[in-house]
Amino acid sequence: MSHPRPIDRDAMRAIEEQILASSPQTDWDVQAVRRDFPALHQRVNGAPLAYLDNAATSQKPQVVIDAVSRYYRRDNANVRRGVHVLAERATAAYEGAREKVRHFLNARSVREIVFLRGTTEAINLVANGLGSRWMSGDEIVLTRMEHHANIVPWQLLRERCGVRLRVLPITPAGELEPERIAGLFSERTRLLALTHVSNVLGTVNPVAEMVQVAHRHGIPVLVDGAQAVPHMVVDVQALDCDFYCFSGHKMFAPTGIGVLYGKEALLEALPPYQGGGEMIRRVSFEKTDFADPPYRFEAGTPHIAGAVGLGVAIDYLEGLDRKAAADHERRLLHVATAQLREVPGLRILGEAPNKVGVVSFVMEDVHAHDLGTVLDHKGVAVRTGHHCAMPLMAFYGVPATTRASLAFYNTPQEIDRLVEGLHYAREILT
Protein backbone atom coordinates (compact mmCIF):
# COMPACT_ATOMS: atom_id res chain seq x y z
CA MET A 1 0.00 0.00 0.00
CA SER A 2 1.33 3.42 -0.89
CA HIS A 3 1.54 6.23 1.62
CA PRO A 4 -0.17 9.21 0.08
CA ARG A 5 -0.22 12.62 1.62
CA PRO A 6 -2.50 12.47 4.66
CA ILE A 7 -5.66 14.53 4.47
CA ASP A 8 -5.06 17.97 5.86
CA ARG A 9 -8.50 18.66 7.28
CA ASP A 10 -7.49 22.11 8.49
CA ALA A 11 -6.42 23.06 4.97
CA MET A 12 -9.71 21.71 3.62
CA ARG A 13 -11.69 23.80 6.09
CA ALA A 14 -9.57 26.83 5.24
CA ILE A 15 -10.38 26.50 1.54
CA GLU A 16 -14.03 26.09 2.36
CA GLU A 17 -14.15 29.06 4.71
CA GLN A 18 -12.31 31.26 2.27
CA ILE A 19 -14.80 30.47 -0.50
CA LEU A 20 -17.82 30.77 1.71
CA ALA A 21 -16.53 34.13 2.96
CA SER A 22 -15.78 35.47 -0.50
CA SER A 23 -19.07 34.47 -2.15
CA PRO A 24 -22.26 36.36 -1.43
CA GLN A 25 -24.07 35.48 1.75
CA THR A 26 -27.43 33.93 1.13
CA ASP A 27 -30.52 33.66 3.26
CA TRP A 28 -30.75 30.04 2.25
CA ASP A 29 -31.78 27.92 5.23
CA VAL A 30 -30.53 24.57 4.00
CA GLN A 31 -31.55 22.71 7.15
CA ALA A 32 -35.14 23.89 6.79
CA VAL A 33 -35.21 22.80 3.15
CA ARG A 34 -33.73 19.40 4.03
CA ARG A 35 -36.63 18.76 6.39
CA ASP A 36 -38.91 18.76 3.34
CA PHE A 37 -37.12 15.71 1.87
CA PRO A 38 -37.66 12.57 3.96
CA ALA A 39 -35.26 10.36 1.97
CA LEU A 40 -32.31 12.56 2.95
CA HIS A 41 -32.67 11.54 6.59
CA GLN A 42 -31.34 8.01 6.67
CA ARG A 43 -28.14 6.17 7.34
CA VAL A 44 -26.42 4.21 4.61
CA ASN A 45 -23.73 1.68 5.54
CA GLY A 46 -23.69 3.18 9.02
CA ALA A 47 -23.17 6.78 7.93
CA PRO A 48 -25.66 9.58 7.30
CA LEU A 49 -26.63 9.62 3.62
CA ALA A 50 -24.88 12.29 1.53
CA TYR A 51 -26.93 12.22 -1.65
CA LEU A 52 -24.79 13.66 -4.45
CA ASP A 53 -26.47 11.90 -7.39
CA ASN A 54 -29.10 14.50 -8.18
CA ALA A 55 -28.37 14.62 -11.90
CA ALA A 56 -29.46 10.97 -12.08
CA THR A 57 -32.61 11.68 -10.11
CA SER A 58 -33.50 14.06 -7.33
CA GLN A 59 -35.17 13.21 -4.04
CA LYS A 60 -38.83 14.15 -3.59
CA PRO A 61 -40.27 16.60 -1.08
CA GLN A 62 -42.99 15.34 1.26
CA VAL A 63 -45.60 17.56 -0.44
CA VAL A 64 -45.05 15.70 -3.74
CA ILE A 65 -45.23 12.29 -2.06
CA ASP A 66 -48.42 13.37 -0.27
CA ALA A 67 -49.98 14.73 -3.46
CA VAL A 68 -49.50 11.45 -5.31
CA SER A 69 -50.84 9.50 -2.37
CA ARG A 70 -53.81 11.85 -1.93
CA TYR A 71 -54.65 11.61 -5.62
CA TYR A 72 -54.89 7.82 -5.36
CA ARG A 73 -56.71 7.87 -2.04
CA ARG A 74 -59.33 10.43 -3.02
CA ASP A 75 -59.49 11.50 -6.68
CA ASN A 76 -58.43 8.49 -8.72
CA ALA A 77 -60.39 8.22 -11.99
CA ASN A 78 -59.65 8.36 -15.68
CA VAL A 79 -59.33 11.79 -17.26
CA ARG A 80 -61.40 13.54 -19.91
CA ARG A 81 -63.97 10.74 -20.18
CA GLY A 82 -66.33 10.13 -17.30
CA VAL A 83 -68.99 12.57 -16.12
CA HIS A 84 -68.83 11.59 -12.49
CA VAL A 85 -67.29 13.60 -9.69
CA LEU A 86 -64.04 11.66 -9.43
CA ALA A 87 -63.50 11.92 -13.20
CA GLU A 88 -64.01 15.68 -12.90
CA ARG A 89 -61.54 15.92 -10.04
CA ALA A 90 -58.92 13.83 -11.83
CA THR A 91 -59.33 15.84 -15.02
CA ALA A 92 -59.12 19.13 -13.14
CA ALA A 93 -55.96 17.95 -11.35
CA TYR A 94 -54.34 16.73 -14.58
CA GLU A 95 -55.20 19.82 -16.61
CA GLY A 96 -54.32 22.00 -13.64
CA ALA A 97 -50.85 20.47 -13.71
CA ARG A 98 -50.59 21.32 -17.41
CA GLU A 99 -51.32 24.96 -16.62
CA LYS A 100 -48.65 24.89 -13.89
CA VAL A 101 -46.11 23.59 -16.41
CA ARG A 102 -47.13 26.29 -18.88
CA HIS A 103 -46.51 28.93 -16.25
CA PHE A 104 -43.26 27.25 -15.13
CA LEU A 105 -41.82 27.45 -18.67
CA ASN A 106 -43.60 30.70 -19.55
CA ALA A 107 -45.20 29.07 -22.59
CA ARG A 108 -47.94 31.00 -24.36
CA SER A 109 -50.59 28.32 -24.17
CA VAL A 110 -51.39 25.00 -22.51
CA ARG A 111 -51.79 23.66 -26.04
CA GLU A 112 -48.00 23.79 -26.21
CA ILE A 113 -47.53 21.43 -23.22
CA VAL A 114 -47.54 17.67 -23.89
CA PHE A 115 -47.28 15.19 -21.00
CA LEU A 116 -45.04 12.23 -21.78
CA ARG A 117 -42.89 9.79 -19.84
CA GLY A 118 -39.82 12.00 -19.87
CA THR A 119 -37.19 13.77 -21.92
CA THR A 120 -36.30 10.62 -23.84
CA GLU A 121 -39.86 10.06 -25.03
CA ALA A 122 -40.20 13.75 -25.90
CA ILE A 123 -37.16 13.65 -28.18
CA ASN A 124 -38.33 10.41 -29.77
CA LEU A 125 -41.71 12.01 -30.44
CA VAL A 126 -40.14 14.97 -32.21
CA ALA A 127 -37.72 12.72 -34.15
CA ASN A 128 -40.59 10.54 -35.34
CA GLY A 129 -42.84 13.45 -36.19
CA LEU A 130 -40.37 15.72 -37.93
CA GLY A 131 -38.51 12.80 -39.44
CA SER A 132 -41.59 11.53 -41.22
CA ARG A 133 -41.15 14.41 -43.65
CA TRP A 134 -37.38 14.39 -43.98
CA MET A 135 -35.54 12.98 -46.96
CA SER A 136 -32.31 11.13 -47.38
CA GLY A 137 -29.46 13.64 -47.19
CA ASP A 138 -31.26 16.02 -44.84
CA GLU A 139 -29.15 16.99 -41.86
CA ILE A 140 -29.48 17.36 -38.09
CA VAL A 141 -26.89 19.20 -36.04
CA LEU A 142 -26.07 17.89 -32.54
CA THR A 143 -23.25 18.66 -30.12
CA ARG A 144 -20.48 16.49 -28.74
CA MET A 145 -21.86 16.77 -25.21
CA GLU A 146 -25.29 15.23 -25.85
CA HIS A 147 -26.83 12.53 -23.69
CA HIS A 148 -27.60 9.32 -25.58
CA ALA A 149 -31.28 10.37 -25.44
CA ASN A 150 -30.44 13.16 -27.86
CA ILE A 151 -28.25 11.00 -30.12
CA VAL A 152 -29.88 7.61 -30.53
CA PRO A 153 -33.37 8.78 -31.68
CA TRP A 154 -31.67 10.66 -34.52
CA GLN A 155 -29.57 7.62 -35.40
CA LEU A 156 -32.75 5.54 -35.59
CA LEU A 157 -34.06 8.14 -37.99
CA ARG A 158 -30.86 7.89 -39.99
CA GLU A 159 -31.52 4.14 -40.35
CA ARG A 160 -35.07 4.85 -41.46
CA CYS A 161 -34.72 7.73 -43.85
CA GLY A 162 -31.04 8.44 -44.36
CA VAL A 163 -30.68 11.76 -42.55
CA ARG A 164 -27.14 12.82 -41.72
CA LEU A 165 -25.88 13.73 -38.25
CA ARG A 166 -23.42 16.58 -37.91
CA VAL A 167 -21.73 17.20 -34.59
CA LEU A 168 -20.61 20.52 -33.12
CA PRO A 169 -17.30 20.00 -31.27
CA ILE A 170 -16.57 21.24 -27.76
CA THR A 171 -13.52 22.92 -26.25
CA PRO A 172 -11.32 21.03 -23.75
CA ALA A 173 -12.95 23.08 -20.98
CA GLY A 174 -16.26 21.59 -22.06
CA GLU A 175 -17.90 24.53 -23.79
CA LEU A 176 -19.64 25.05 -27.12
CA GLU A 177 -18.46 27.79 -29.41
CA PRO A 178 -21.63 29.40 -30.77
CA GLU A 179 -19.70 31.17 -33.52
CA ARG A 180 -18.85 27.78 -35.02
CA ILE A 181 -22.42 26.59 -35.33
CA ALA A 182 -23.18 28.43 -38.55
CA GLY A 183 -20.32 26.55 -40.18
CA LEU A 184 -22.22 23.30 -39.68
CA PHE A 185 -25.46 24.55 -41.19
CA SER A 186 -26.30 23.86 -44.80
CA GLU A 187 -29.40 24.24 -46.90
CA ARG A 188 -30.21 20.64 -45.94
CA THR A 189 -30.11 21.29 -42.17
CA ARG A 190 -33.54 20.54 -40.71
CA LEU A 191 -32.93 20.86 -36.97
CA LEU A 192 -30.45 21.84 -34.29
CA ALA A 193 -30.87 19.60 -31.22
CA LEU A 194 -28.76 20.45 -28.18
CA THR A 195 -28.67 20.16 -24.45
CA HIS A 196 -29.27 23.20 -22.25
CA VAL A 197 -26.98 21.87 -19.52
CA SER A 198 -24.48 19.00 -19.86
CA ASN A 199 -25.33 16.08 -17.57
CA VAL A 200 -21.63 15.21 -17.28
CA LEU A 201 -19.83 18.56 -17.28
CA GLY A 202 -22.49 20.85 -15.84
CA THR A 203 -21.81 23.39 -18.60
CA VAL A 204 -24.68 25.80 -19.22
CA ASN A 205 -24.86 26.31 -22.97
CA PRO A 206 -25.64 29.68 -24.57
CA VAL A 207 -28.93 28.37 -25.91
CA ALA A 208 -30.61 31.72 -26.65
CA GLU A 209 -27.64 32.83 -28.72
CA MET A 210 -27.52 29.56 -30.65
CA VAL A 211 -31.27 29.67 -31.29
CA GLN A 212 -30.83 33.12 -32.81
CA VAL A 213 -28.14 31.89 -35.17
CA ALA A 214 -30.19 28.82 -36.14
CA HIS A 215 -33.29 30.91 -36.75
CA ARG A 216 -31.33 33.28 -38.98
CA HIS A 217 -30.72 30.18 -41.11
CA GLY A 218 -34.36 29.15 -40.87
CA ILE A 219 -33.53 26.14 -38.69
CA PRO A 220 -35.74 25.11 -35.74
CA VAL A 221 -34.14 24.17 -32.42
CA LEU A 222 -34.90 21.42 -29.92
CA VAL A 223 -33.48 21.87 -26.42
CA ASP A 224 -32.93 19.00 -23.95
CA GLY A 225 -33.66 20.75 -20.67
CA ALA A 226 -33.50 17.73 -18.36
CA GLN A 227 -30.50 19.07 -16.41
CA ALA A 228 -31.51 22.73 -16.56
CA VAL A 229 -34.96 22.88 -14.95
CA PRO A 230 -33.80 21.71 -11.48
CA HIS A 231 -31.25 24.53 -11.33
CA MET A 232 -32.57 27.61 -13.10
CA VAL A 233 -35.66 29.48 -14.19
CA VAL A 234 -36.40 28.56 -17.81
CA ASP A 235 -38.36 30.88 -20.09
CA VAL A 236 -39.09 29.25 -23.44
CA GLN A 237 -40.22 32.53 -24.96
CA ALA A 238 -36.99 34.26 -23.96
CA LEU A 239 -34.97 31.33 -25.33
CA ASP A 240 -37.22 31.32 -28.40
CA CYS A 241 -36.50 27.60 -28.88
CA ASP A 242 -39.01 25.58 -30.87
CA PHE A 243 -39.07 22.49 -28.65
CA TYR A 244 -38.03 22.11 -25.02
CA CYS A 245 -38.05 18.77 -23.17
CA PHE A 246 -37.59 17.83 -19.54
CA SER A 247 -38.25 15.03 -17.04
CA GLY A 248 -40.12 15.44 -13.77
CA HIS A 249 -37.96 13.12 -11.72
CA LYS A 250 -34.83 15.26 -11.96
CA MET A 251 -36.77 18.26 -10.60
CA PHE A 252 -38.23 16.75 -7.42
CA ALA A 253 -41.32 15.19 -9.11
CA PRO A 254 -42.13 11.49 -9.62
CA THR A 255 -40.51 9.28 -12.26
CA GLY A 256 -42.43 8.45 -15.41
CA ILE A 257 -43.71 11.96 -16.12
CA GLY A 258 -42.09 14.51 -18.38
CA VAL A 259 -42.91 17.32 -20.74
CA LEU A 260 -42.52 18.29 -24.33
CA TYR A 261 -43.02 21.98 -25.00
CA GLY A 262 -43.45 22.84 -28.67
CA LYS A 263 -44.47 26.06 -30.35
CA GLU A 264 -48.13 25.67 -31.20
CA ALA A 265 -47.77 25.90 -34.98
CA LEU A 266 -45.01 23.28 -34.95
CA LEU A 267 -46.97 20.86 -32.78
CA GLU A 268 -50.02 21.31 -35.01
CA ALA A 269 -47.94 20.31 -38.00
CA LEU A 270 -46.63 17.13 -36.33
CA PRO A 271 -48.36 13.82 -37.07
CA PRO A 272 -49.45 11.61 -34.15
CA TYR A 273 -46.76 9.65 -32.34
CA GLN A 274 -48.80 6.73 -31.04
CA GLY A 275 -52.38 5.81 -31.86
CA GLY A 276 -55.07 4.95 -29.34
CA GLY A 277 -57.71 6.41 -27.10
CA GLU A 278 -57.72 10.05 -25.97
CA MET A 279 -55.86 11.27 -29.06
CA ILE A 280 -58.77 11.16 -31.49
CA ARG A 281 -61.86 13.17 -32.40
CA ARG A 282 -63.78 10.55 -34.30
CA VAL A 283 -62.91 6.99 -35.31
CA SER A 284 -64.42 4.69 -37.89
CA PHE A 285 -62.74 1.82 -39.64
CA GLU A 286 -62.40 3.96 -42.71
CA LYS A 287 -60.92 7.07 -41.16
CA THR A 288 -59.79 8.67 -37.92
CA ASP A 289 -59.74 12.38 -37.14
CA PHE A 290 -56.99 13.16 -34.73
CA ALA A 291 -57.34 15.51 -31.80
CA ASP A 292 -55.47 18.80 -31.69
CA PRO A 293 -52.27 19.17 -29.67
CA PRO A 294 -51.51 18.41 -26.94
CA TYR A 295 -54.02 15.51 -26.84
CA ARG A 296 -52.96 14.22 -30.25
CA PHE A 297 -49.71 13.14 -28.59
CA GLU A 298 -51.20 11.64 -25.42
CA ALA A 299 -52.59 8.31 -26.58
CA GLY A 300 -53.91 6.06 -23.82
CA THR A 301 -54.45 6.83 -20.16
CA PRO A 302 -51.64 9.15 -19.12
CA HIS A 303 -49.62 9.13 -15.89
CA ILE A 304 -52.19 11.25 -14.07
CA ALA A 305 -50.67 10.85 -10.62
CA GLY A 306 -47.27 11.74 -12.04
CA ALA A 307 -48.62 14.91 -13.62
CA VAL A 308 -50.27 15.84 -10.32
CA GLY A 309 -46.96 15.25 -8.55
CA LEU A 310 -45.14 17.35 -11.13
CA GLY A 311 -47.60 20.19 -10.63
CA VAL A 312 -46.95 20.12 -6.89
CA ALA A 313 -43.18 19.95 -7.43
CA ILE A 314 -43.52 23.11 -9.51
CA ASP A 315 -45.53 24.76 -6.72
CA TYR A 316 -42.80 23.72 -4.31
CA LEU A 317 -40.01 25.13 -6.49
CA GLU A 318 -41.86 28.35 -7.14
CA GLY A 319 -42.43 28.73 -3.41
CA LEU A 320 -38.66 28.78 -2.86
CA ASP A 321 -36.37 31.74 -3.36
CA ARG A 322 -34.89 30.31 -6.54
CA LYS A 323 -32.13 32.88 -6.72
CA ALA A 324 -31.02 32.03 -3.21
CA ALA A 325 -31.19 28.32 -4.10
CA ALA A 326 -29.00 28.88 -7.16
CA ASP A 327 -26.53 30.99 -5.13
CA HIS A 328 -26.32 28.23 -2.54
CA GLU A 329 -25.64 25.62 -5.23
CA ARG A 330 -22.97 27.85 -6.78
CA ARG A 331 -21.18 28.23 -3.43
CA LEU A 332 -21.24 24.46 -2.99
CA LEU A 333 -19.88 23.99 -6.50
CA HIS A 334 -17.01 26.39 -5.79
CA VAL A 335 -16.19 24.61 -2.52
CA ALA A 336 -16.33 21.20 -4.22
CA THR A 337 -14.18 22.33 -7.15
CA ALA A 338 -11.52 23.90 -4.94
CA GLN A 339 -11.34 20.92 -2.59
CA LEU A 340 -11.32 18.34 -5.37
CA ARG A 341 -8.38 20.12 -6.99
CA GLU A 342 -6.40 19.38 -3.82
CA VAL A 343 -6.93 15.62 -4.06
CA PRO A 344 -3.75 14.04 -5.46
CA GLY A 345 -4.12 12.50 -8.91
CA LEU A 346 -7.62 13.88 -9.44
CA ARG A 347 -8.62 15.58 -12.70
CA ILE A 348 -11.90 17.45 -13.15
CA LEU A 349 -13.56 17.21 -16.56
CA GLY A 350 -15.40 20.33 -17.62
CA GLU A 351 -14.32 23.66 -16.23
CA ALA A 352 -16.63 26.06 -18.01
CA PRO A 353 -17.10 29.34 -16.13
CA ASN A 354 -20.88 28.98 -16.46
CA LYS A 355 -21.76 25.71 -14.74
CA VAL A 356 -24.46 24.22 -12.56
CA GLY A 357 -23.57 22.03 -9.58
CA VAL A 358 -22.23 19.02 -11.47
CA VAL A 359 -18.59 17.90 -11.11
CA SER A 360 -17.18 14.95 -13.04
CA PHE A 361 -13.69 13.72 -12.33
CA VAL A 362 -11.25 10.87 -12.78
CA MET A 363 -8.57 9.71 -10.37
CA GLU A 364 -5.25 8.43 -11.59
CA ASP A 365 -4.87 4.65 -11.16
CA VAL A 366 -8.32 4.27 -9.62
CA HIS A 367 -11.35 3.23 -11.64
CA ALA A 368 -14.60 5.14 -11.14
CA HIS A 369 -16.47 2.02 -10.05
CA ASP A 370 -14.02 1.34 -7.24
CA LEU A 371 -14.36 4.96 -6.13
CA GLY A 372 -18.14 4.60 -6.20
CA THR A 373 -18.06 1.49 -4.02
CA VAL A 374 -15.70 3.04 -1.45
CA LEU A 375 -17.74 6.26 -1.30
CA ASP A 376 -20.93 4.24 -0.86
CA HIS A 377 -19.33 2.61 2.16
CA LYS A 378 -19.02 6.08 3.64
CA GLY A 379 -22.68 6.86 2.89
CA VAL A 380 -21.81 9.13 -0.05
CA ALA A 381 -23.94 8.44 -3.15
CA VAL A 382 -22.39 9.48 -6.47
CA ARG A 383 -22.77 8.26 -10.03
CA THR A 384 -20.00 6.35 -11.77
CA GLY A 385 -19.82 5.27 -15.39
CA HIS A 386 -20.25 6.82 -18.79
CA HIS A 387 -23.38 8.80 -17.84
CA CYS A 388 -25.09 7.88 -21.14
CA ALA A 389 -22.67 10.19 -22.92
CA MET A 390 -20.12 7.84 -24.47
CA PRO A 391 -19.08 10.21 -27.30
CA LEU A 392 -18.18 12.76 -24.62
CA MET A 393 -16.19 10.14 -22.69
CA ALA A 394 -14.33 9.36 -25.93
CA PHE A 395 -13.54 13.07 -26.36
CA TYR A 396 -11.85 13.12 -22.95
CA GLY A 397 -10.26 9.70 -23.54
CA VAL A 398 -11.76 8.09 -20.43
CA PRO A 399 -14.09 5.07 -20.18
CA ALA A 400 -15.91 6.38 -17.15
CA THR A 401 -15.97 9.20 -14.63
CA THR A 402 -17.21 9.75 -11.12
CA ARG A 403 -19.83 12.46 -10.94
CA ALA A 404 -21.04 14.41 -7.93
CA SER A 405 -24.19 16.36 -8.73
CA LEU A 406 -25.72 18.82 -6.32
CA ALA A 407 -29.13 20.08 -5.36
CA PHE A 408 -30.11 23.02 -3.19
CA TYR A 409 -30.52 20.66 -0.22
CA ASN A 410 -26.85 19.64 -0.15
CA THR A 411 -24.47 21.04 2.45
CA PRO A 412 -20.77 21.95 2.66
CA GLN A 413 -20.39 19.09 5.17
CA GLU A 414 -21.50 16.64 2.49
CA ILE A 415 -18.83 17.99 0.15
CA ASP A 416 -16.27 17.48 2.94
CA ARG A 417 -17.36 13.86 3.24
CA LEU A 418 -17.04 13.35 -0.52
CA VAL A 419 -13.51 14.70 -0.46
CA GLU A 420 -12.54 12.71 2.64
CA GLY A 421 -13.97 9.60 0.98
CA LEU A 422 -11.81 10.22 -2.09
CA HIS A 423 -8.66 10.57 0.02
CA TYR A 424 -9.60 7.36 1.77
CA ALA A 425 -10.24 5.55 -1.54
CA ARG A 426 -6.85 6.68 -2.78
CA GLU A 427 -5.25 5.46 0.40
CA ILE A 428 -6.63 1.94 0.17
CA LEU A 429 -6.74 1.40 -3.59
CA THR A 430 -3.44 2.75 -4.87
Binding site: M1, N45, D365, V366, H367, A368, H369, D370, T373, V374, H377, T384, G385, H386, M390, M393, P399, A400, I428, L429, T430
Partner: protein, 162 residues
Protein backbone atom coordinates in the same frame (compact mmCIF):
# COMPACT_ATOMS: atom_id res chain seq x y z
CA UNK B 1 -10.48 0.05 6.40
CA UNK B 2 -13.91 -1.10 7.56
CA UNK B 3 -14.20 -4.87 7.72
CA UNK B 4 -16.72 -5.29 4.88
CA UNK B 5 -14.63 -3.18 2.56
CA UNK B 6 -11.60 -5.31 3.48
CA UNK B 7 -13.60 -8.37 2.45
CA UNK B 8 -14.09 -6.85 -0.98
CA UNK B 9 -10.73 -5.18 -1.51
CA UNK B 10 -8.51 -7.89 -0.05
CA UNK B 11 -4.82 -7.19 -0.22
CA UNK B 12 -4.32 -10.11 -2.62
CA UNK B 13 -6.97 -8.74 -4.97
CA UNK B 14 -5.45 -5.26 -4.84
CA UNK B 15 -2.00 -6.67 -5.62
CA UNK B 16 -3.37 -8.30 -8.75
CA UNK B 17 -5.17 -5.07 -9.69
CA UNK B 18 -2.02 -2.96 -9.29
CA UNK B 19 0.30 -5.45 -10.93
CA UNK B 20 -1.77 -7.78 -13.10
CA UNK B 21 -0.15 -11.06 -14.11
CA UNK B 22 0.02 -12.17 -17.76
CA UNK B 23 -1.02 -8.68 -18.85
CA UNK B 24 0.17 -8.76 -22.46
CA UNK B 25 -0.91 -9.45 -26.01
CA UNK B 26 -0.10 -12.86 -27.49
CA UNK B 27 1.09 -13.29 -31.07
CA UNK B 28 0.63 -17.04 -31.02
CA UNK B 29 -2.93 -17.07 -29.66
CA UNK B 30 -5.32 -19.60 -31.15
CA UNK B 31 -8.36 -17.85 -29.60
CA UNK B 32 -8.89 -14.17 -28.89
CA UNK B 33 -12.01 -13.04 -27.07
CA UNK B 34 -13.08 -9.45 -26.80
CA UNK B 35 -15.34 -8.88 -23.83
CA UNK B 36 -17.19 -5.68 -23.10
CA UNK B 37 -19.47 -4.73 -20.25
CA UNK B 38 -21.87 -2.09 -21.60
CA UNK B 39 -23.03 -1.21 -18.09
CA UNK B 40 -19.69 0.24 -17.08
CA UNK B 41 -17.58 0.37 -20.24
CA UNK B 42 -14.97 -2.15 -19.04
CA UNK B 43 -13.29 -3.90 -21.92
CA UNK B 44 -10.98 -6.87 -21.95
CA UNK B 45 -9.17 -8.98 -24.49
CA UNK B 46 -8.36 -12.54 -23.51
CA UNK B 47 -5.75 -14.52 -25.46
CA UNK B 48 -5.46 -18.32 -25.33
CA UNK B 49 -3.12 -20.77 -26.96
CA UNK B 50 -4.65 -24.21 -27.06
CA UNK B 51 -2.44 -27.22 -27.61
CA UNK B 52 -4.77 -30.17 -28.05
CA UNK B 53 -6.96 -30.21 -24.97
CA UNK B 54 -4.59 -28.08 -22.92
CA UNK B 55 -4.50 -24.32 -22.43
CA UNK B 56 -0.79 -23.88 -23.01
CA UNK B 57 -0.75 -20.12 -22.56
CA UNK B 58 -3.23 -17.44 -21.55
CA UNK B 59 -2.94 -13.66 -21.21
CA UNK B 60 -5.12 -10.55 -21.23
CA UNK B 61 -5.22 -6.84 -21.88
CA UNK B 62 -7.85 -4.19 -21.29
CA UNK B 63 -9.04 -1.56 -18.93
CA UNK B 64 -11.37 -1.96 -16.05
CA UNK B 65 -11.83 -1.49 -12.34
CA UNK B 66 -9.71 -3.17 -9.65
CA UNK B 67 -12.13 -6.08 -9.37
CA UNK B 68 -12.29 -6.77 -13.08
CA UNK B 69 -8.52 -6.51 -13.53
CA UNK B 70 -7.74 -8.66 -10.49
CA UNK B 71 -10.26 -11.29 -11.50
CA UNK B 72 -8.73 -11.56 -14.99
CA UNK B 73 -5.22 -11.67 -13.57
CA UNK B 74 -6.06 -14.48 -11.15
CA UNK B 75 -7.88 -16.30 -13.91
CA UNK B 76 -4.77 -16.41 -16.09
CA UNK B 77 -2.63 -17.64 -13.18
CA UNK B 78 -5.05 -20.40 -12.41
CA UNK B 79 -5.98 -21.53 -15.92
CA UNK B 80 -2.56 -21.73 -17.52
CA UNK B 81 -1.69 -25.38 -18.17
CA UNK B 82 -5.16 -26.71 -17.37
CA UNK B 83 -7.31 -28.84 -19.66
CA UNK B 84 -10.47 -27.46 -21.22
CA UNK B 85 -12.56 -29.68 -18.96
CA UNK B 86 -10.80 -28.41 -15.83
CA UNK B 87 -11.24 -24.81 -16.97
CA UNK B 88 -14.95 -25.30 -17.55
CA UNK B 89 -15.35 -26.85 -14.12
CA UNK B 90 -13.50 -23.91 -12.58
CA UNK B 91 -15.77 -21.49 -14.42
CA UNK B 92 -18.77 -23.10 -12.71
CA UNK B 93 -17.15 -22.92 -9.26
CA UNK B 94 -16.11 -19.29 -9.66
CA UNK B 95 -19.51 -18.37 -11.05
CA UNK B 96 -21.18 -19.92 -8.01
CA UNK B 97 -18.73 -18.17 -5.70
CA UNK B 98 -19.37 -14.75 -7.28
CA UNK B 99 -23.13 -15.00 -7.53
CA UNK B 100 -23.56 -16.76 -4.22
CA UNK B 101 -25.78 -19.15 -6.19
CA UNK B 102 -25.11 -22.17 -4.02
CA UNK B 103 -22.58 -23.17 -1.41
CA UNK B 104 -19.49 -24.70 -2.91
CA UNK B 105 -18.92 -28.38 -2.33
CA UNK B 106 -15.33 -27.67 -1.42
CA UNK B 107 -14.41 -23.98 -1.43
CA UNK B 108 -10.86 -24.93 -0.58
CA UNK B 109 -10.43 -26.00 -4.21
CA UNK B 110 -10.47 -22.39 -5.32
CA UNK B 111 -7.28 -21.40 -3.55
CA UNK B 112 -6.33 -17.81 -4.30
CA UNK B 113 -9.55 -17.28 -6.23
CA UNK B 114 -11.33 -17.17 -2.89
CA UNK B 115 -10.13 -13.57 -2.68
CA UNK B 116 -13.02 -12.85 -5.04
CA UNK B 117 -15.62 -14.12 -2.54
CA UNK B 118 -16.36 -10.64 -1.17
CA UNK B 119 -17.77 -9.56 -4.53
CA UNK B 120 -20.89 -11.67 -4.04
CA UNK B 121 -22.12 -9.13 -1.48
CA UNK B 122 -22.07 -6.37 -4.11
CA UNK B 123 -24.70 -7.20 -6.75
CA UNK B 124 -23.72 -4.13 -8.78
CA UNK B 125 -20.13 -5.32 -8.98
CA UNK B 126 -20.53 -9.03 -9.77
CA UNK B 127 -20.33 -8.45 -13.51
CA UNK B 128 -16.98 -6.69 -13.07
CA UNK B 129 -15.57 -9.95 -11.75
CA UNK B 130 -17.34 -12.30 -14.16
CA UNK B 131 -16.35 -10.54 -17.40
CA UNK B 132 -13.05 -12.41 -17.82
CA UNK B 133 -14.62 -15.72 -16.82
CA UNK B 134 -17.39 -15.38 -19.39
CA UNK B 135 -14.72 -14.48 -21.93
CA UNK B 136 -12.86 -17.67 -21.00
CA UNK B 137 -15.99 -19.77 -21.40
CA UNK B 138 -16.63 -18.25 -24.81
CA UNK B 139 -13.06 -18.98 -25.86
CA UNK B 140 -13.50 -22.63 -24.97
CA UNK B 141 -16.87 -22.93 -26.69
CA UNK B 142 -16.81 -20.40 -29.51
CA UNK B 143 -19.90 -21.94 -31.11
CA UNK B 144 -22.28 -20.77 -28.40
CA UNK B 145 -20.96 -17.27 -28.08
CA UNK B 146 -23.06 -14.14 -28.26
CA UNK B 147 -24.44 -11.86 -25.64
CA UNK B 148 -23.94 -13.70 -22.38
CA UNK B 149 -25.26 -12.46 -19.06
CA UNK B 150 -25.51 -8.87 -20.35
CA UNK B 151 -21.90 -8.94 -21.47
CA UNK B 152 -20.87 -8.66 -25.08
CA UNK B 153 -18.38 -11.29 -26.12
CA UNK B 154 -16.91 -11.98 -29.48
CA UNK B 155 -14.44 -14.72 -30.25
CA UNK B 156 -11.87 -14.57 -32.97
CA UNK B 157 -9.93 -17.56 -34.16
CA UNK B 158 -6.87 -16.13 -35.95
CA UNK B 159 -6.74 -17.44 -39.50
CA UNK B 160 -3.36 -19.09 -39.01
CA UNK B 161 -4.80 -21.28 -36.29
CA UNK B 162 -7.91 -22.61 -38.01
Amino acid sequence: MSSELTDLYQELLLDHARHPHNFRAMDTASRIVEGYNPLCGDDLKLYLRLEGDRIADISFQGRGCAISTASASMLTDRIKGRTVGEAEQLFESVHDLLTGARPLADPGDLGALEALAGVSKYPMRVKCATLSWHALKSALRPAIVGVNADLELSVRVPASCV
